[in-house]
Amino acid sequence: MDFDVTPFTLQDMAASLKSWLLILSILGAFSLLLGMLLCVARNGAAGIGIFFKGLLGFLNDVGSVSPRRIRALTSLTLKEAIRRKALLVFAVFALLLMFAGWFLTNSNERAELQVGIHIAFILQTISWIMMPVVFFLSCWSLPEDIRIRSLHTVVTKPARRIEIVLGRIIGMGIVTLTILAVMGGIGYLWIVRQLPTEAKKQLTCRVPVFGHLQFINPEGQPSLKGINVGDVWDFRSHIAGNSRSRGVFVFDGIDDSTLVTGTETGEGGSGTLQIAGLRMECRFEAFRTVKGSESSVRKGVTAQYTLSNNPREEAFGLFSQSETLRPLADALRDAQFRTAANRMEELATKVAADGEAAKNKQNLELMPADYMGLQLGSVYAAGVMRDRKDVALESAATAFQKVAERGGDLVNIMASNAEDKHEKIPGLHEALSQSMKQLASLLDQEADTLHEHLPKLEVVLPSFHVSEYHEGAAENVKFVPRTVRFSADAETQCRLLARLFEMINETGQLVEGAGLKSDLAAQLESEGKISVANANLVVEVLTEQLASGALKVDGSKLVVADGQRWFHFFDSLIQKDLLISAESEGWMIERDLIKDLTHDGYLRVEVACLNDQMYLGMARPDLFLRKPDRDFLVGYGKALVSTSLMMLLIIVLGVTVSCIVKGPVALFFTFTFFIVGQFFHEFMRELLYNPAQQGMGAIASAVMTAQHRNPQVGMDVSEATQRVVQGIDAVPRAMLWGFSEIVPDFSVFNSAAGFVENGFDVPFFETVVPAFLIFLGFLIPCVLIASALLKFRELESK
C-alpha cells in the first residue's frame, strides 16, 4: 500500500461535483423517459397525463417530508433490529477476541509487525462481522415488510414513501454506528491490553510529509529517473554507490510545525537533552551487487543525507536538460558566473549564426531541444530569482526573463505551421541572440553580486546503514536537531565570516586605534560560534592583511582597501588557502534548520550511497519527514469512521435495491455492487481511461483476428464499415462507463485501515473526506430512486 496520497483539493471537489451532476442528470433524464414510456405503453396517450400526475405527486411527497414521521419510522427500525437480535454480533466478536490472542501475540516478532497484525485483526474483524449484519438488515428488511404486509398498514397512514426509506436508512445507520462504536471501543482496549509492553511504543500514528523525488545521475546532471538495476518493478529507481549519483527529495511547507521534540546526548555524553528537530524516516531498498557475509548483508549499505539550500541548483538545473547547454548550466550552478557569461556569449553567437543559416535555408547548429532548454531554463531561472525577493537579483531575473520571452517566441514559431514562419525566424534568432548577449554581459558585470546573493548551504549528516530487508526500524529514523552543527565548506565559511565581520564592523567594535580590537578573537568565538583556534587564525590573517594594506582603518571601521565587499575579500583569502583550519573537524559552524536551510518552506535532501558497487533504491514515498506523531486513537477513530461510511453506503444501496426486488435478489445485487466496487473499480477505470489498456472493441478485435492484423495497422475495411464497427463497439464501452460511474469505489473506504495498520495517521482530507463525499453522492440519488420505486410499485400486485 502506498501512503503517499494524492492531495484532494477544492478543484478535485469541484470536478467531482460537476461529474456527479452530469451523471445525476443523465440518470434522471433516463428514468423520466423510461417512466413515461412505460406509462404510455400501458395506458396509451393517457399515460402521459398519468406520468406527470405521478411525478407531481412524487415531488409533492418529497416536499412534504415530516421529521416526526421519519423519527417514528427510525425508532421502529431500531426496535426491529434489536428485537431481531442484530446485537448478537457482539457475541461473535467477543468469542473471536477471547481466543485471537493465542494465535496473534508473538513477542519474538518485530514490534511494528505485532502492532500491525493486532490492528489489522481488529479492523478487519469489525468489518467482516458487520458486513453480513448490514447486508441482511438492509436487503431483507423492506421486502420482508412487504411480504408479511406490515408495510401495507404503514402506507395507509400519512407516511410518505420517502419517509419510509429515510426511516429505514437512518434507523439501520444508527444500529450500525452503535455496534461499530462499541466494537471499536472494545477493539481499542483489546489492542492496548494485548500488545507486549515493547510493542506498545509503536502504537502511534506517524504524520508524514512527502516530498518530490528527482535524481542526479553519476555524471552529476539532474535527471527525472535514477538507474534501473534490472528490477521488473519500476516503482523504485536506484542511485549508484560511491559516485555523484544522488536521490534528491524536495519537501514543501516545512516550518516550525514540522519539527518534533527529540533527545540528543549532551556534550561529553552527559545526559540527554530535549530539543526540537527534524525527524526523517526512510525505507530505501539496498541493492547489493556483491555477496557478503551474513553480518554485512544484514548491515546493508551505507547511505548519507545532505540537507541543502541551493537556489543555484533550483534556478539553473533545468539548463542541463540540453546537452549543448550543459556547460552553461554547470557554470551557473557552480557560481562561476563569469564563465557562464562566456558560455552564454558563445551560445548567443551560435543563435545569431543559426539566424543567418535559417535565412539561407541551411541547417541550424542548435537543435530545437536546445532552444526549448534555453527558454525553459531561463523561465525557471527568472522565476526562482524573483521568488527570493532580493533587489540585487532583479536585473538578472529581468535579463533571464527577456531571454525566456525571445526564446519562447522563436520556439513557438518553429513549432507552428505559419506560412510566414521562414521570414520571421531569422529576425527572432537575432532578437534572441541580442537578449542573450545582454544577459551574458550582465552575468559578467554582476558575477560577484549573484554569487553573494545566491548562497548555497550544504549540511552533510552522519552516514547510516540501510538494510536489504527493511529491518531495523530505529535505524531508518533519523533525528536532526534544529540547530545543526556541521563542518562548513569554503563557500559557507566565506559567508559566515563576511556576515560576522559586517555585523561587528557596523557597531564599530572591530577597530581599536589603528589596529584590530584586542579581544576580537573572543568576540568572533562567541558571536560566530567558531572555535578558538579558527578565531585566532582569522585575527592573525586579518592583522597581516591590515599590515599589507589590503585592509585599512577608516574612522571607527575597517574597510577593504580596493572597496570590495567582505564576502569577496574573504573569498579571495580562502582561494589563496590562507584560512585553512588547523583543526581536524575544519570550520564547524551552527545553522538553523528552518531559517537557514529552508527557503519559502522548501527543504532539499540529497541521499547518497557510499558503498562502491552498491545501489540504493528509492521512490517518492521512501523518505518522509515525520511531523509530531498523533495519538493512535486519532487514526484508529478515522479508520472506524471510514468503515462506518462504507457500512452506511451498503445500507443505502441495499435499501434502494430492496424497494423493487425481493430480499435474496436485493442481497445478490448489493453484494455484486460491493464486490465490483471493492475489487474491480480501478480495473474498470483502467479499461476506460488508460490508453494502454483500451485496445480495440470486441467487434473490431474479431475483424482483425479474422484478417490476421494487429491494432497498430487496424482493420482492412472501408471507412463506412470501420465507423459501423466502432459504433457497435462504443455501446459496451458506454455501458462500462455508466457502470463504473454508478458503482461506488469501495476501496476508498478501506484505505484508512491500511494507514493505521502500518502506523500512519489517516490523512483526513485525502481519505475520510472523499469517503464521506462518495457516501453523500450516493445517498441523495439513492433516496430519491428508492422512494420513487416504492411509490410507483403496487404493493399488493399479484
Binding site: K53, L56, N60, V62, T153, K157, P158, R160, L795, K798
Partner: protein
C-alpha cells in the same frame, strides 16, 4: 387542483423547477389544457359523498404485461357521509381489490375515484382514514402500546394525545392485560383487536374494514358490530367488505354486491331485504283458543297457507346468552328448557 397540496415546496433541482412552473401554470389556468392533462379530474362532491368511484376497472397482468384477470369492471358507486356501507360478494368478486385501490395499495387500470375529496394516490387523505386489513398486518415484535404509539406518531398527535388515545382503544378492544406482550404472542382474535385499535388511533372520519369479523369469536363479532354502529352514531362513515352476510345485514345501511368484478346490486339493506308479498306477525305466547280464532279469521279471508311456529333464537344469540349466564353463575350447567325459556333479547 386536487392532487398537489398547498404545502408543496420547490427545490433547486432543474427537473423540480420545471414541474414547479407547471404547477404554477395549473393554478393560473385551472381549466386549461395543462390542467386537463396533468390533473386528476375532480369529481362532483355536491352530494356529500365521502367516496366516489366512476368507471373503475382493475386488470391484473403478468410480468410481461399480459392480462391475467379483470378483478373490477367499470365500477361506479358513491358512499355517503355517515353511513355504514357494505361491499358484498363471493371470493374473487373484487371487493378487497376495490378497497385496496381506494387506499392506494393498488393502482386502477382505468377510472377515477376520490376519497374525502382527494385522489386515492394522495397520501394526505390518509390523515382522516382508518383501515383494518383482512388480517392484522402489524409489526409482531412490538407490543400493543408500542404499536399504537408507532401508528399514532405517523399522525399529527402529541405524546399525551397518543397515550390517552392508546389507553382508550386498548380498553375498548379489551387488551388491557396483554398490552405489554409482543404481538407475536397474540391469538388471531387478539391480533384483530389490536388491528382495529390501530385503525382508530387517529379518530378517523372514514373507516375501511376488510372482513372485520374474520377471526373473531361470537363475542368479538358482536362487539365489532356494536362498535360499527357506535362509529355510525358518532357520524363517521364506515365501509366494510365481508361475506358474513348476517353481519352485514345487522349493521349496514347500504350494500353493494359484486360478482366477478361487476356491480350487481346497490341499495339500502331494508329495501333490498323486504319481502313485499308476505306478512309476519309476532306476539307473546298465544293460547290454543286464540290460535283457533286467528285461523278462522284467516280462513274467512281465503288464506290457507298460513303457518304458526315459535320463533327461534339464532345461534349467536344462544352463544352470547350462555356466555353471559355462565359469567354470572359459574359452574352451573343449563338445561334445554331453561335456555328455551329465556327471553331472546
Amino acid at each position: 387542483m386536487s392532487s398537489v397540496s398547498p404545502s408543496y415546496r420547490c427545490s433547486v433541482e432543474p427537473v423540480e423547477t420545471f414541474f414547479f412552473v407547471v404547477f404554477a401554470l395549473q393554478i393560473w389556468a385551472k381549466d386549461s389544457l395543462v390542467s386537463s392533462v396533468f390533473c386528476a379530474k375532480r369529481l362532483d362532491m355536491s352530494n356529500d359523498a365521502v367516496i366516489e368511484i366512476r368507471n373503475l376497472s382493475k386488470i391484473y397482468r403478468d410480468f410481461w404485461g399480459r392480462k391475467k384477470v379483470q378483478a373490477v369492471k367499470s365500477l361506479s358507486m358513491d358512499v355517503k357521509r355517515g353511513e355504514v356501507f357494505g361491499l358484498l360478494g363471493p371470493n374473487g368478486s373484487g371487493k378487497t381489490t376495490t378497497m385496496k385501490m381506494l387506499l392506494g395499495l393498488l393502482f386502477p387500470t382505468s377510472g377515477e375515484m376520490t376519497i374525502l375529496g382527494k385522489a386515492a394516490s394522495d397520501v394526505s387523505k390518509n390523515e382522516r382514514i382508518g383501515y383494518l386489513p383482512e388480517e392484522s398486518y402489524l409489526y409482531r415484535f412490538l407490543n400493543a402500546d408500542e404499536t399504537l404509539d408507532f401508528y399514532g406518531r405517523l399522525f399529527k398527535m402529541t405524546a399525551a394525545e397518543r397515550n390517552r388515545r392508546a389507553d382508550e382503544l386498548i380498553e375498548m378492544v379489551g387488551l388491557g392485560k396483554a398490552r405489554r406482550r409482543q404481538l407475536k404472542e397474540y391469538s388471531k382474535g387478539m391480533a384483530r383487536r389490536i388491528g382495529l385499535a390501530q385503525a382508530l388511533i387517529n379518530d378517523p372520519d372514514l373507516v375501511l374494514l376488510d372482513e372485520p369479523t374474520s377471526g373473531l369469536d361470537p363475542i368479538g363479532t358482536r362487539e365489532m358490530k356494536d362498535l360499527i354502529l357506535r362509529l355510525k352514531a358518532e357520524g363517521k362513515t364506515v365501509v366494510m367488505c365481508s361475506h358474513q352476510l348476517a353481519d352485514v345485514q345487522d349493521v349496514c345501511d347500504r350494500i353493494a354486491v359484486l360478482f366477478q368484478g361487476e356491480l350487481k346490486v346497490l341499495g339500502r339493506v331494508e329495501d333490498l331485504l323486504e319481502v313485499r308479498n308476505e306478512m309476519q306477525m309476532r306476539t307473546s305466547n298465544l293460547s290454543d283458543a286464540a290460535m283457533s280464532d286467528i285461523r278462522e279469521v284467516l280462513k274467512k279471508h281465503n288464506i290457507s297457507d298460513a303457518t304458526f311456529s315459535r320463533p327461534r333464537a339464532d345461534l349467536e344469540e344462544l352463544f352470547l346468552r350462555t356466555v353471559r349466564e355462565s359469567g354470572e353463575r359459574p359452574g352451573r350447567r343449563f338445561t334445554t328448557e331453561e335456555i328455551a325459556g329465556k327471553p331472546g333479547r
